[in-house]
Assembly symmetry: C2
Homo-oligomer: 321 residues x 2
């Protein structure tokens, strides 16, 4: 395909066009500027440019503190930023497009079609959508094969994760290119094989959030108690080891296998309103094997020591000890 | 009541008896030793003392690094530890008892009754149970009024959170005493007004965990992807700001009110298998008001700056930037 042949290598992207410049879009603008890209931004809101400059200015303190990439302006974040009033103009200049419009399917469908029409055919168009599949968003594009989801976390200029997943009409080569591009840009990338509503982290976060809302609705916990229960509890572990490795260590020397055998029955407890999956032998083995792979030869003692060093470092870094 | 009158003030507790010395019980032993308490431990398992000494020895590196309290032995954690072969002996010496037996209701009922019979009447007996209510565990105790849940997080020697909640027969004065004791011992305490299965943090964690298991069972994500999606995504925020304040900032300058108005409809999305609560005006206001109270006059800009400093500090502390 000609578009594939003429696509710039991920490391040669120079100009990123950011469509939509709210909390997420503006965060992307700040991030790409700090990584040395030239950024063209477009947002139809009246006060968009003022809000964008406020957000980028605030983020810049953090980003210069972390260290700017070669090409980023040490004097002002605005040196490499162009805010243009016209979407077609913005897209015509792009080596890569990141769309971060409000979460509205009809709006996204129309906007992606407009971006698609205005962007050179070889350029990849990525969407920050928090939950729509690209399959349902790309339906009006003439070149849907170069549209893909690149889902960040707030703030995109500090949180490393980007989830990359294509729709049914997306070329697998575009999924791979986009993953490479985000990695080259300094992101931590999860490339998903198939579309799942909400992707991965948002599904996990949403399950927690819904349970929290239920607890507030039932008068079981206050907003403050919910936040404290996370920041002073499992939240301190989750920056270091995810939920799977966390429970691998809850099993003591026996690891996840022991944990599932010991706490498996608690899946039947009414601890959340989320119905548990059946803990089949296949699921048990998949989880145990996954933890072993992830541990990659590190013993439970090694992982405990890593976690403990991490928790102490976090408590110190946050000035809590 | 005579037991209340003769109860030592929380700050005068000297000897803590730890019943059960596995991952959680052993973690408590290490923590109390580091805070300068004398600890008496009992565990019926054959190799319990060897495992306990291994766990405490490992934890001690972290704990001495954090700084020991006056009274803790700088030479060896074992100076103030006595492991006794007899439960009655162990309980007779206690100013406070922390029970951390395996999660088995019948076992807990019998064990708590045995502890109750062996412990001086004025001494509080706390359980590390991850999910049982004290109402269902205290049924065989002669003095259930001094039994209470004090639920820690793994590892209890580093994670600050303890959830304190009584059962129907627990004296409110014991709930207050226990909260004061844990606070005096350096813990971050949530005192719950009523029993909810799994308390607060475990309900939230369990919702996330069940969704994760569903994703593995359905082949939607691997164990490694699930962990990476948390450690490189929302996990970095949750050590700083809980799920409520996190979404308060997702709303931009409009805060939680804007966030609920914008993303509220996504509660209807199939993003998790957990059915969402109805976002009634009452629930919306409870969440918005809670965030305002928690923000305590800090603007969204203030909170964003705090979060950004925190994320950077964590990334640095973990050696990731």
């Amino acid at each position: 395909m000609s578009d594939q042949l003429s696509r710039v290598p991920p490391q040669d992207v120079r100009t990123v066009t950011c469509v939509g410049a709210g909390v997420i879009g503006g965060g992307w603008v700040a991030y790409f500027l700090s990584r040395g890209y030239r950024v063209v931004a477009w947002d139809p809101a009246e006060d968009a440019e003022a809000r964008l400059r406020h957000l980028v200015g605030t983020a810049w303190t953090a980003l210069t503190d972390l260290g700017l990439a070669p090409g980023a302006s040490p004097d002002s974040p605005f040196d490499n930023l162009t805010v243009v009033p016209d979407l077609t103009d913005a897209c015509a200049q792009a080596d890569f497009v990141q769309e971060s419009a409000p979460e509205d399917l009809e709006l996204k469908r129309t906007l992606l079609a407009d971006i698609d029409a205005a962007t050179p055919e070889h350029v990849v168009i990525s969407s920050s959508t928090s939950g729509y599949g690209m399959s349902e968003m790309q339906v009006r594009c003439a070149h849907p094969e170069r549209t893909v989801v690149g889902h960040p976390f707030n703030p995109p200029y500090l949180i490393p994760l980007v989830e990359v997943v294509g729709g049914t009409a997306t070329s697998p080569e575009v999924v791979a290119w986009t993953s490479d591009f985000f990695r080259h840009a300094g992101k931590s990338v999860i490339t998903m094989d198939s579309e799942v509503p909400g992707f991965i982290a948002n599904r996990l976060q949403e399950a927690l959030w819904r349970e929290a809302l239920h607890m507030v609705a039932e008068g079981e916990a206050t907003v403050e108690q919910i936040d404290l229960s996370i920041t002073d509890g499992p939240g301190l572990r989750w920056a270091i080891q995810g939920p799977m490795l966390t429970f691998h260590l809850a099993g003591g020397q026996g690891g996840m296998a022991h944990m599932l055998d010991h706490f498996g029955p608690s899946l039947l407890s009414p601890w959340t309103r989320l119905t548990a999956p059946e803990l089949t032998p296949e699921l048990r083995d998949a989880v145990v094997d996954g933890c072993e792979r992830e541990a990659g030869g590190r013993s439970v003692d090694d992982l405990v020591a890593e976690r403990d060093r991490g928790v102490i470092a976090i408590l110190r870094a946050l000035g809590r000890v």
